[in-house]
């Protein structure tokens, strides 16, 4: 099944599955991406894989929460499998997740999360055990236990749903999760874990909480990733202290609001003030000018904070749909600027701000010579950044109908176009990366083998000159090529995360704008 029958987003997903789980999972994933809900026996025929392979692939994807199953509507004895698109896409964000957790908490939490991401889903004891093994903190896993509790408490990890009570009666089991249990960690027995670690065991075996399975909570990470963008925006608009304040307020909002709602609940001036006072990390500048900072933020046209009332010294909310509309606009502006230049940007923004514009008006107000203005307008039109609306006005029965061509920006549509292009760009960067790596696979493998060999020999205390001799088995040209490939690879990885930033903004905008 050639991948180009898929949309760009699905292609990205497919590439990710291939990359993380290998070709077989990739094939099954691609099939499900293309066909939606499918029963098991359809998949081998279409993909040419054996049923055992398909089963295994599905099991892997279910373990990682990338595929879900439901009883078919036609026959509830048959399970249908479907891809959870967002979760597959989030594979791309795993490095960001780790980095974020490391920044917020520290290394041990990062390791816990990394283990959990590798396992897909696992019990708390298991994650702690494996992390301790990795960290070689054999003696005391209880610190890791505390870290785990923190992650659960801040909702970065979440309990998997359990089998429903009536599961035995159904061929296709349904899964349920108790709302209030979602983030509660059951009692763990740390003692046995510590003992096993001392014995250098590699497997945990039976444990008390083996029934309570955890996985990563993508929604929570989405919120956090969005907040990073928002804090950066606040810091750009005012200064880093404003960013600090905004970070704090975002945290308060998150604690008091439903993550899926397009606006947060209101916070009062006094609550925010209290939080700033109580926060140990608050900088002296912020403490001194708290009121000014808050005011500058809510008076800013970017609507990072919206004032909704005066009770309690002022009531403040975050209106996600407006803020992300502004961010999406900033994103589109940046794309237009880079692709078509500053004059095109002026025309684009002018049209967006004024809603509907005639060609003449555009060039007059934008003060761009007619010829140039026309050229840019049509370029923008061609690439779908502008839309046309034709107005017909019949002045009387016999006079010819007058028609006006009006330009305007259909923001959701433009955002969708840009989003598609971003998926495609991301996919291309991934393809390019894969290509560069596979093309030079032999060389890279050789280099890696040599490096490990040298490492171990150095450990054994081989004299330096002999090591140097060994290391010369690769020519300097080869070595510099390897270095180049590595740096290119890093470049491409960075590029992908940057493309993902844009995607996150545009996706969030479309999501929130469709809610209101």
């Amino acid at each position: 099944m050639p991948p180009f029958t898929l949309g760009h987003f699905s292609q990205v997903c497919c590439q990710l599955l291939n990359h993380y789980f290998g070709e077989i999972v990739g094939q099954v994933g691609a099939y499900l991406l293309r066909r939606g809900h499918r029963p098991l026996f359809d998949i081998p025929c279409a993909t040419g894989l054996s049923i055992a392979e398909v089963k295994k692939a599905l099991a892997v994807m279910i373990q990682h929460n990338l595929v879900k199953f439901e009883a078919s509507e036609r026959n509830n004895n048959i399970a249908e499998y479907s891809i959870i698109h967002h979760n597959v896409y989030c594979l791309l964000r795993y490095p960001k997740y780790l980095y974020m957790i490391k920044r917020i908490y520290g290394t041990s939490e990062e390791i816990l999360l990394e283990i959990l991401l590798n396992l897909g889903q696992a019990s708390a004891s298991n994650v702690i055990f494996q992390s301790a093994n990795r960290l070689k903190e054999a003696n005391d896993p209880s610190a890791l236990h505390q870290s785990f509790l923190k992650l659960a408490q801040d909702n970065f990890i979440i309990r998997c749903p359990k089998l429903a009570d009536n599961a035995n009666m159904q061929k296709v089991p349904t899964l349920v999760v108790e709302e209030k249990e979602k983030f509660t960690v059951p009692h763990l027995e740390i003692g046995p874990i510590a003992k096993l670690l001392k014995e250098n065991a590699t497997q945990l075996g039976e444990h008390s909480d083996s029934e309570v399975i955890w996985r990563v909570n993508h929604e929570r990470f989405d919120v956090e990733l969005r907040n990073v963008i928002l804090v950066n925006a606040a810091a750009r608009r005012v200064d880093s202290t404003a960013g600090e304040l905004y970070h704090l307020i975002l945290k308060l909002w998150r604690e008091c609001s439903n993550p899926d709602s397009p606006t947060t609940n209101a916070l009062s001036f006094n609550v925010i003030k209290d939080a700033v006072r109580k926060n140990e990390g608050s900088s002296p500048v912020l403490l001194e000018h708290f009121e000014q900072y808050l005011r500058v933020l809510y008076e800013d046209t970017s609507s990072l904070i919206t004032k909704v009332g005066d009770a309690g010294g002022g009531q403040f909310i975050l209106n996600y749909s407006i803020v992300f509309e502004n961010l999406a606009c900033a994103t589109l502006d940046s794309i237009v600027l880079e692709r078509f230049g500053s004059k095109a940007l002026r025309l684009f923004r002018l049209t967006r701000i004024q809603k509907f514009m005639e060609q003449d008006q555009m060039q007059n107000i934008a003060m761009i010579p007619a010829k140039e203005a026309k050229m840019f307008t049509y370029k923008l039109l061609e690439h779908n950044f502008l839309q046309i609306k034709e107005l017909k006005k019949g002045t009387s029965n016999f006079a010819p109908v007058k028609s006006f061509i009006l330009f305007h920006v259909d923001l959701p549509q433009v955002a969708r176009t840009a989003l598609e292009a971003s998926y495609k760009g991301l996919f291309n960067a991934m393809v390019r990366q894969m290509h560069d790596l596979t093309d030079n696979k032999r060389l890279l493998d050789k280099h890696a083998r040599l490096e490990t060999l040298l490492e171990s020999l150095r450990g054994e205390g081989l004299p330096e000159d002999e090591l140097a001799y060994l290391s010369d088995s690769m020519t300097a040209a080869e070595k510099s090529l390897v270095a180049r490939i590595h740096s290119m690879n890093d470049h491409l990885t960075l590029g992908q995360t940057q493309a993902d930033d844009t995607i996150l903004i545009l996706e969030s905008y479309l999501k929130f704008s469709s809610m209101t």
């Binding site: 925006a233 750009r236 000018h289 500058v296 002026r346 140039e372 760009g425 991301l426 590029g495 940057q498």
Partner: protein, 326 residues
């Protein structure tokens, strides 16, 4: 067809009106009336109660109103109400042109049509359809009128080849000449660009200066980064970049382009000394330094539509990536 044309000797803004001629109601009133019209000549934008009050404090309000009403009914003055203050203003009515001596009736018709078009002017063809004269006659008439310096032709910026006609003494409208940014019907885009950058630089410097006092808090910093259009106009004029006299409106159109560039924001404040609202400006940062996607070649790629895993343009042999990765 042709309505009777009032023939008057005075020029439009001649302070000596015909009022004295038909003043039948006593010396003082005629004098007051004359003075009023004189005042209206001095204040072409119109006079209001205040002006009248200071100029002739001794005259009874009722008499003033009566005289003004009479002038109104004689269609010598116009009355209007200011948009903001809701104050009443009186001003001299633009008198229909008065130099129609020796003009025959066809010429009169054409004159009327041109006059109606005001300072926006009117195209030859439109005159023809309105007057139902044939082209040759019309051309003759237009030439004659031009020769008598009653009308003039102005070439319009919106369509360089088309000339519009208007009364000789009128100042062509901005839409015809294009305003300050046109010289000889050429749009001076370079000048606009230079001013656009200059204004931005001025505002940037102001913002930089404001940031030097971080101890006073962000609100102070923000408020100190504003400049009004008047101030900017002054600075630009002092720099002597332009040869003509820059008006505040001229600068505001330039500042508008910066607003549309997303580099500055405008806010209107009412405080200050001048009458209406003051437009003030400051630079703003964008919410993002740049969209992440434009930092990879595909984000700005001109051929992304053609690019795919098959065909001539493919990521694996893409030259943009080759350059970018180098």
């Amino acid at each position: 067809m042709a309505a009777p044309v009032v023939i008057k000797k005075e020029k439009v803004d001649d302070p000596r009106p015909s009022a004295s001629a038909d003043a039948g109601e006593g010396q003082t009133e005629a004098e007051i009336e004359r003075r009023m019209i004189e005042l209206m000549g001095e204040f072409p934008k119109g006079i209001n109660d205040k002006i009248l009050e200071t100029d002739m404090p001794n005259v009874d309000k009722k008499i003033k109103v009566a005289i003004l009403n009479r002038l109104l009914s004689q269609e010598k003055v116009n009355i209007f109400r200011a948009a903001v203050t809701k104050e009443l203003f009186w001003c001299l009515k633009q008198q229909p042109t008065s130099k129609l001596k020796g003009v025959d009736s066809e010429e009169k018709i054409v004159m009327r049509i041109i006059e109606e078009a005001g300072n926006k002017g009117i195209w030859n063809r439109d005159i023809r359809t309105k007057s139902s004269l044939n082209q040759t006659t019309l051309n003759k008439i237009l030439k004659a009128l031009e020769g008598k310096k009653l009308i003039k032709s102005v070439s319009s910026v919106s369509a360089a080849k088309k000339k519009v006609y208007m009364l000789f003494n009128l100042q062509p409208d901005r839409s015809v000449t294009g305003g300050s940014w046109y010289s000889d019907n050429e749009f001076e885009s370079e000048l606009v660009d230079v001013l656009n950058q200059q204004c931005y630089r001025i505002l940037q410097q102001k913002a930089e200066g404001a940031k030097q006092k971080p101890l006073e808090g962000p609100l102070i910093v923000r408020n100190a980064s504003f400049l009004s259009s008047k101030e900017i106009c002054q600075i630009i004029s002092d720099l002597k970049i332009v040869k003509f006299n820059l008006t505040v409106e001229d600068i505001e159109t330039i500042l508008d382009t910066l607003v549309y560039d997303g580099k500055i924001e405008m806010s209107a404040t009412t405080d200050g000394y001048s009458d209406g609202q003051v437009k003030t400006y400051r630079t703003v940062e964008k919410l993002l330094s740049s969209a992440g996607i434009v930092r990879i070649p595909c984000g700005v790629c001109p051929v992304i539509k053609m690019c795919g895993t098959v065909g001539a343009v493919q990521p694996k042999n893409c030259v943009y990536y080759d350059q970018w990765l180098d």
